[in-house]
Each structure stands twice: as C-alpha cells, then as structure tokens.
Symmetry: C2
Subunit: 103 residues, 2 copies
Amino acid sequence: MEPSQSYPSPDMSDVQLVDVLRALADPIRLEIVRHLADGTAHPKTSDLWPFDVQKSTLSHHFKTLRESGLTRTIVNGRQHDIQLRKAELDERFPGLIDSVLRG
Amino acid sequence: MEPSQSYPSPDMSDVQLVDVLRALADPIRLEIVRHLADGTAHPKTSDLWPFDVQKSTLSHHFKTLRESGLTRTIVNGRQHDIQLRKAELDERFPGLIDSVLRG
DNA sequence: GCCATTGTTCGATTACGGTCAAACTATTTC
DNA sequence: GAAATAGTTTGACCGTAATCGAACAATGGC
C-alpha cells in the first residue's frame, strides 16, 4: 500500500499568517493545537478529546486546522491521526507556535 | 488638564490569548498592528491608512484592537493616537508579537 | 459663537463560522 | 457479506462580526 498521504495540506509557502491566526483564534482549535504540542500524532477519535461537542463539529475543526496549514492528517486504516506541522511552521513563522504553546 | 487616559484598555493580566489571536485574525487589523510595529503612536485619521473602508469601519477595528488588549488610545485634543502595547504584550505573551510582526 | 476637523456611535445589512443531527463513506472484524 | 467502528459531509440554524451611511460628539481655529 501507498504511504497514505490523503487529505491535502497546503504547501507551507502558500500559507498566509492571517489564515493561521484565524485558525488559532478559536478556543477549541487552540486547545487542540496545544494537545499536539508534543509533536506526536493523535487520533481524531472524539472520545479522546475533552470537548463537549459532537464529532461532526470536531471534524470541522480538524478540517479547519489542516486547511490552514497548521496540521497534517495521517490515515491509518480507519483511524485518522492529526499532527502539528511544527518544523515547517517554525521555519515559516519563527517563534509563533512556541509563543502560542507557551501562552 | 489631566494626561488624558480616556478609552479604557484591559489590564494585561486579564487579556486572554485567544482574544488577542481573534483580534489579529483579520487582514485590516493585522496590517494596522504591523504599521504600529515601530512602537510610536499613530493618529487614527483614516486618510493616513491605506485601507479602502469607511472611517466608521476603521473606528470599529481600532476599538476591537484596543478592547483585545493589543493597543492603547492616547487622546490629544481632537486627534486620537493609537499605540501598540508592545512591552506589556512581550511580557504576557513572549515572542508572539515579534513573530507576528516578522511573518 | 460658528464652522471645520476628527473620530465615535447607531441601525441596518450581509457574510461568515460554529454547532447539531442525520446521512453517508471507508475500513476492520467476525 | 453483515455488523461495528472511525470519521466525513451535508443542510439547517443561529449568533457574531464586518461593513456602510448617517447622525452625533468633541475639539480647535477663526
């Protein structure tokens, strides 16, 4: 099988700061990004997240994060993992992610 | 006359990151903040800003920035100056403003 | 005092985004 | 193949926010 790179994320060179900021400017998405701070891939399974929203809402937030350039999705069978694009973001917007994770 | 501290800005200790991010997550406001990067106070005079919006809209954005904690307003006669709260923001959210100004 | 200047506020309109419920897709398991 | 699991998509609803135009307020200059 192919090393599954489904669900397209934008090239980091195309990512605009204002769009990243908009993606971060929501309580749930900001919290998700903080959970992803360790750099590892986390399953999207809604039970594992501490939010009181439906899984369709969570799915919407995951999509917003991915399309903004903040995360990538790794498909593994029927499980989808989400991962912060930390290294790329650090190169494109130095200091931004660290300051957000710290705040 | 009093050294005019009209137009209240929130205490920086009360400022939440997500609210700062929301204020920054607009093209016009982000551009305003970048113009304020030099740290000096700029008049709100709409003719001096390169935006194709009405002055009432610009006034709304200035208000949003101030209420989010990003700026302060200095009243000087009939001219209002706006200033980035750089030092306070640097202490509250280290690295955030610098990364936004750089991006 | 009158007028121009500078900016705010108000009301209306419109667009966008977060949320839910339900239907749908894909994958694994039995 | 059927059922269960993991997640997405769609459509509707609703609150919020961006925008405009007009009215309003405050100040400075004459």
